[in-house]
Symmetry: C2
């Protein structure tokens, strides 16, 4: 039995994971991250949550062998420290997450990137469970991914492997990416935030066009066709209600993801691609566009690669993180 | 000592390889492939060449332990048979290359894709020799690649891993790729044949434009600025002579390759990228464009990844193929 912890920019979740069955053995508890309070405060909140979870788990009769953590940011897997983090979690970079949790709980701890933990969960116990090589693809606020071979994630030379959102796509050219690049990264148009930003950009262009040289009543009518959206989810909602521009954006985002996934499959050649994250709820036209894009860009040899949706939802990172600490302890035992 | 064989669409080369030093121990012998005679005839020519090479090597006092082959096409590494091949080698698909060579020579044989063999050579004994994770990138008639980790190639689920020429790039949109896709693959504009095809397309557009609405003397003058090219090498030659259109095409091909390599590094995250192939002779502006494209599209974490030219030239596939058969025999011995 392990405690799994999932640290995101909005909330932190934890639960007891049974690694024998690959399932959550307790209720999932979660608290707000309050990332705006800064990295030191967030770390304190996580330590408190972990101590409470371990105590409660022991009271409930669970024998906890270690803690597995999936966290936002670039992680040093040796130390469990945060090497880098985006502006979503200010001050998170540099926090000694693994060491602090070990000291506070007396348990062995392994820390993994949250998208990787999610991917490992899906690869080992979810939609990829029966496959040797899994490409896990998380399409949420950003686009992340993980390559999992024989249950172990490919880390790469700089712990960057699997950052599949940062490949160029023609439709993204001109859009600014969260990583700073202006060369047209997929994430800038096909993630939740990308869909939102792209819709807004195209919407404003449409509004400007409709303002030019048409009378007021026409303008009023056309503006209604370009309603402002609060986020990517609302763009998908507009699309489902038949809005033409929103439907185009959702379609194009799906095409871009599908074409990019084909290119990524030519490089990595997985047995299966497992897609999860909030954008997977964008509707059937989005899903069809993903498959259409993949089919149009894939070579015959990989055309039959399975592209499926994840099956574990929010428990995936908790299960994946627990798998990482279990694998680590098994390697330690094997060496003794 | 091993016999290495490199099978391409134009010629077949062979030499004795000393795997202890990673060097070629004999002269390199080569014959024309005569791919137009069909796969059965090509296989017969290879068998004859291999038998001759083994005999000569033994006469010269070499103790040959096996044969390593790098061949064009998609290879089944278990059997050494050709699973698929492009139109460059008609009838090559289906040929039982490995089994036929074993039968003809009585030696153990391992067959690898030629680009992979090239990449392994550079990764193990060439420019990537001191690195754990090498992305080898061959930019010749097509664009291929290989991911080599700890000296072993990543094969993937369908033996496709490393086909880095088949990722989408905005500049390639509208160009037809050798794999059949029209979604804008890198190979269609940045390989040798792609540079040629792209130059011709842009040249004809320029000629058509200059024909429209200008007088005859102007036309004659402008046509001179858009000379037809016989191949990608000639486009590079025109560029080196100051031709504006050719220079643009070479620059754009370099940018596209560099931006794509950044995306591929985000996915695979190698320690080093080793680029080889005929297009690496396209000149300094091409090389600068590759680096410029990479810098503009790479995240800070991978920006320092080394991008270097290969150091072994034509011996790389012979050395790589020899390494594959040596590794195979070592694994066999370890199991006994």
């Amino acid at each position: 039995m392990y405690v799994g912890i999932d640290i995101g920019g909005t909330k932190i979740a934890t639960a007891v994971v049974d690694a024998a069955t690959g399932s959550v053995a307790s209720d999932v508890h979660s608290i707000a991250t309050h990332a705006e309070f800064g990295g030191v405060e967030v770390l304190q909140r996580i330590i408190g949550l972990a101590q409470h979870e371990v105590t409660q788990a022991r009271l409930a009769g669970f024998d906890i062998a270690g803690i597995g953590v999936g966290s936002a940011g670039v992680i040093d897997p040796e130390t469990g420290s945060i090497l880098a983090a985006t502006d979503i979690m200010p001050g998170w970079a540099g926090q000694p997450l693994g060491a602090a949790l070990e000291q506070a709980t007396g348990l062995p701890v392994q820390v993994t990137n949250d998208v990787m933990a999610h991917g490992i969960g899906e690869a080992v116990w979810g939609a990829g469970a029966e496959y040797q090589r899994v490409l896990a693809c998380a399409v949420g606020t950003g686009i992340g991914g993980a390559i999992i071979v024989d249950g172990m994630p490919v880390e790469g030379a700089h712990h960057v492997a699997g950052h599949i959102g940062h490949v160029c796509h023609r439709l993204a050219y001109g859009m600014h990416c969260s990583c700073g690049s202006d060369s047209g990264h997929l994430e800038a148009i096909a993630s939740g935030s990308g869909i939102h930003a792209w819709y807004e950009q195209r919407r404003l262009a449409c509004v400007a066009q409709s303002n030019a040289g048409s009378d007021v009543s026409e303008q009023a009518e056309q503006k209604l066709a370009f309603p402002p959206a609060a986020n990517g989810g609302q763009v998908a909602q507009f699309a489902s209600q038949g809005n033409v521009l929103a439907s185009q954006v959702i379609h194009d985002a799906g095409i871009a993801l599908g074409e990019s996934l084909a290119g990524i499959c030519h490089i990595v050649d997985p047995d299966i691609v497992v897609i999860s994250g909030s954008v997977t709820h964008a509707g059937e036209p989005w899903w069809q566009a993903v498959q259409q894009g993949f089919a149009s860009s894939s070579m015959p040899s990989i055309a039959a690669t399975r592209i499926v949706l994840g099956s574990l939802d929010a428990t995936a990172p908790l299960l994946g993180a627990a798998y990482v600490i279990e694998s680590y302890l098994q390697r330690c035992n094997a060496q003794v």
